[in-house]
Subunit: 595 residues, 2 copies
Amino acid sequence: MPIYDAPTRDMQFLLHDCFDLQKYSNLPGFADATPDVIDAFLEESGKWHRDVLTPLNRVGDQEGCVRHDDGSVTTPTGFKDAYQQFCENGFGTIAMDPEYGGQGLPLALQYAVSEMTSASNQAFAMYPGLSGGAWRAIYQNGSDEQKQTYLPKMTTGEWTGTMNLTEPQCGTDLGLIRSKAVPQDDGTYKISGQKIWISAGEHDMSENIIHLVLARIEGAPDGIKGISLFIVPKFVLDADGNPGERNGVSCGGLEEKMGIHGNATCVMNYDEATGYLIGEENKGMRAMFVMMNEARLGVGMQGLAAAEVANQNAAAFARDRLQSRSLTGPKAPEQPADPIIVHPDVRRMLMDSRAFVEGARALTYWTAIHSDLADKAEDEGTRQKSDDYMALLTPIIKAYQTHKGFEATCDAMQVFGGSGYTEEWGMSQFLRDTKIAMIYEGTNGIQALDLVGRKLMADGGRYWQTFLKEVTEWCADNKGTSDVLDGYIGQIEATKGELQEAIQWLAANGMQNPNNAGAGSHDFLHLFGLVAMGYMWGMMTKTALEKAGGDDPYYDNKLITAQYFFSRLLPMSTTHLVRVKAGAEAMMALPAEAF
Amino acid sequence: MPIYDAPTRDMQFLLHDCFDLQKYSNLPGFADATPDVIDAFLEESGKWHRDVLTPLNRVGDQEGCVRHDDGSVTTPTGFKDAYQQFCENGFGTIAMDPEYGGQGLPLALQYAVSEMTSASNQAFAMYPGLSGGAWRAIYQNGSDEQKQTYLPKMTTGEWTGTMNLTEPQCGTDLGLIRSKAVPQDDGTYKISGQKIWISAGEHDMSENIIHLVLARIEGAPDGIKGISLFIVPKFVLDADGNPGERNGVSCGGLEEKMGIHGNATCVMNYDEATGYLIGEENKGMRAMFVMMNEARLGVGMQGLAAAEVANQNAAAFARDRLQSRSLTGPKAPEQPADPIIVHPDVRRMLMDSRAFVEGARALTYWTAIHSDLADKAEDEGTRQKSDDYMALLTPIIKAYQTHKGFEATCDAMQVFGGSGYTEEWGMSQFLRDTKIAMIYEGTNGIQALDLVGRKLMADGGRYWQTFLKEVTEWCADNKGTSDVLDGYIGQIEATKGELQEAIQWLAANGMQNPNNAGAGSHDFLHLFGLVAMGYMWGMMTKTALEKAGGDDPYYDNKLITAQYFFSRLLPMSTTHLVRVKAGAEAMMALPAEAF
């Protein structure tokens, strides 16, 4: 049975030592997030996720969800009860607005807790996860009445929410949506059409489900400029605001998937269901995109969560499994063989994952702090800068972290050898479950295109210029404090130089032939990811150097992992640059029928 | 339903144009392998695999194998009948010795056909695959009587074979084997113990199963020097050589695995089963290793086969699926959107796989030719050189190709977007099935250690020196014939230079601290793989240049893929070199309990 112990020590290092959340105590709610409060939260959450949610992970994989003939769906044994506890513990409402029942605490703390939920049970995590996305879509786009009507019950978890975008003929290209909305005299709409791959579309954990649905109002313009966003509750509310009559929406089937079996991935059929317009007509895509940034950050977090739990289990196995002797002589001569953690190639896989996870965790929390700054900072300049960061880093975090997170689960399986390939040890589930993170909320290819096509050149390149200026200044400010840090700063600057070279190449060649930008997008995103990770590892090294050498080996271990990152992970940037500059020619030359 | 069309055109290019099998017509059996014979074989085989074996792939995944209370095992619907046809068509006996009923044709042709079997149905392929391994172990190590007794029936497929190595406490480290063999007065042994993960250990497709079992004769030395190899038939043969009394071996359970569900992965219990020693006492590991080289080549082939079939399906989907417009303007203006094959990032994944598959196919067949030369060449120098190549390239082909093949199946899933993650489209099965190839027949980490620990320095470095000398000479011989080829030759030479630098670094630093060799082993193997792939792409480019520009677009397409390989895949070598030279320090520094 796989284990999971929340990495609270590493979370504390980031929230207290490295990013010092206390610095932001002037932001609304942040003053309440004292170190003691944060530590207590992390500890309680860590216990619950280890003891309650982790054991349900395999149950979810094996049982899956069951759709009954009446269209109702039963979740795996224990999920409903765990969801009740999750809600009572407030694990999903940490950063929600207190006006609607939330706790108003820093988003970075929510991310720490959400990381635990994803790591211990990804399929379960998606129920509150999607619900949080729907919450945010209503919060940011709904009328005051809509917010008052839906948000409090969604905050308590009594009602959950979903996002209904995809249709059989359109996933990425939402301009092709056919679901239609017919205006009624009372201001409501009748929604009809079929949506597919709707996570948590139907289940038995809440008394109502609030579907957010993209559809086309009759007569609307073609393409994405004719898409509107609607609230479609499973049960239409009665005059008292309680779930009343069943709406014309039902689950037509469950998708059979490679993983996340514990989550109900539904075909949803809308048949003249009553819907309520959110925001303006034909502005549905914009409303969706505002919400999507945070959802994508959350998916990027899932990548590191999967890597964390897979790596914990691989490390435990590697300490335990006896096989062959160390290349430098027996390390456990009293045993028939040494534990495989003495073998360099096993270490390689564990350290690759570790250096990725710790860097990605830093990047995710740091970006979460900027999300709060973008919303809540008093100073407009700070809000703008943080908003730029969010826009720039969101596709990078989503795609880079889910890609590397998936690779980490593959490596963890590899550490287990043949045992990893059996279902018994749980490594298969981690691999199978986390592959979806590379696909949903916009495939990683779409993220890369978002980065080079939109974010890079937006506002004359302001986003990346602001970000790289900060990195440049940080490097300059911290030079000369230690030889170790100086070496790393040199590497960060060199990698930043490669990134700038890539940007220049894209600017020069992407205009001339947009396929050049598309051809390099994947590698450009990974190159950018490495620069961002390098910056995080620079900051973490600085903090760890200040505290290392004492009784707590944590800081010394952090410095070893930093050394690993700079010597083995960051150098991949060079290959990414070569690939960006290879351009589109050979990639696009074959006729389609030659494949 | 996934499709598979055997890439016979590419196979013909390699066997006829590029490697010109006719050159070797002096080898026994090769004269029979005229181009017409080869083409007829490939065509017939292609049809059968497409029409009969491909449709059974999903059946195998969904039904799996069933073990009954009496220990018998039923294979998925259709497998038994397909196996009969497979045997009647002689698809597994192409290169076997005619003295025992084989066809005596070139091994490269067998590899082409085996690639089709793996690509269309990996779980099925393992039944004849393991049987072929057992066949070879008996052929190379058995007495004349043993060969006469077992091989003819294994050639016809009436009997199958298995390899029994792993036990619960030992996979990689076979020195820990506990299964014991007690000598009997009649010269036989009583074998007792438990073996796990025995592929095709029990099934309903053949009338007898010939188990090859590693066990320790009572009183034998500890470790691998006390391991012997035994034949243990499921049914002991009667006086006429027919299956008689049931032996003391039975299937105690089936493993629940991530993939290859159609193959029975058995726990095998030996309870005083009658066994016959093969070769000498305590020399079982050597006997096993001789056989293992070819088995590992075969597994490397599985990596490219999986990539081929996954990529075929991804390309078909990409031509068909309409989503968004090309970055350079609509390509299918009459449709609501363009087929996604117009998008560079989709192409990137298809071309990555294609460039890998075609290079790996060349490397596999080229090595298969050397395998025949090592066995059959008249000239001792040629035999020695080819034997060196086999020894050197086997771990590289096994690990590099299964690693890249797995990545190709992941990319193929990614091309499908959300559809790829459902079980309906079959991409999940390709990914799940092919992961095992990175693990079995020695994990890829073990292959890397075999390369740096054994093969690299064996005979004073003769293997790699001979190989690199050939590459150097080929580069020199072919310079100046065309600008395109000159450019590639320059790149091959540069990458060869990086490889030599890595070898020097390992020689200097691996002696001093063996962990330095282990720490770099994975990246060294991949660097070597790239040099070998570069050499293959050089040879293929040369051949294609001679034939390009005519009516057959095949050769022009080959040149485009070559350009892609040299501009985007080969440059990864630089990062591998940096990682090799990073050494073991940071990798090994953390105490085990810190993970």
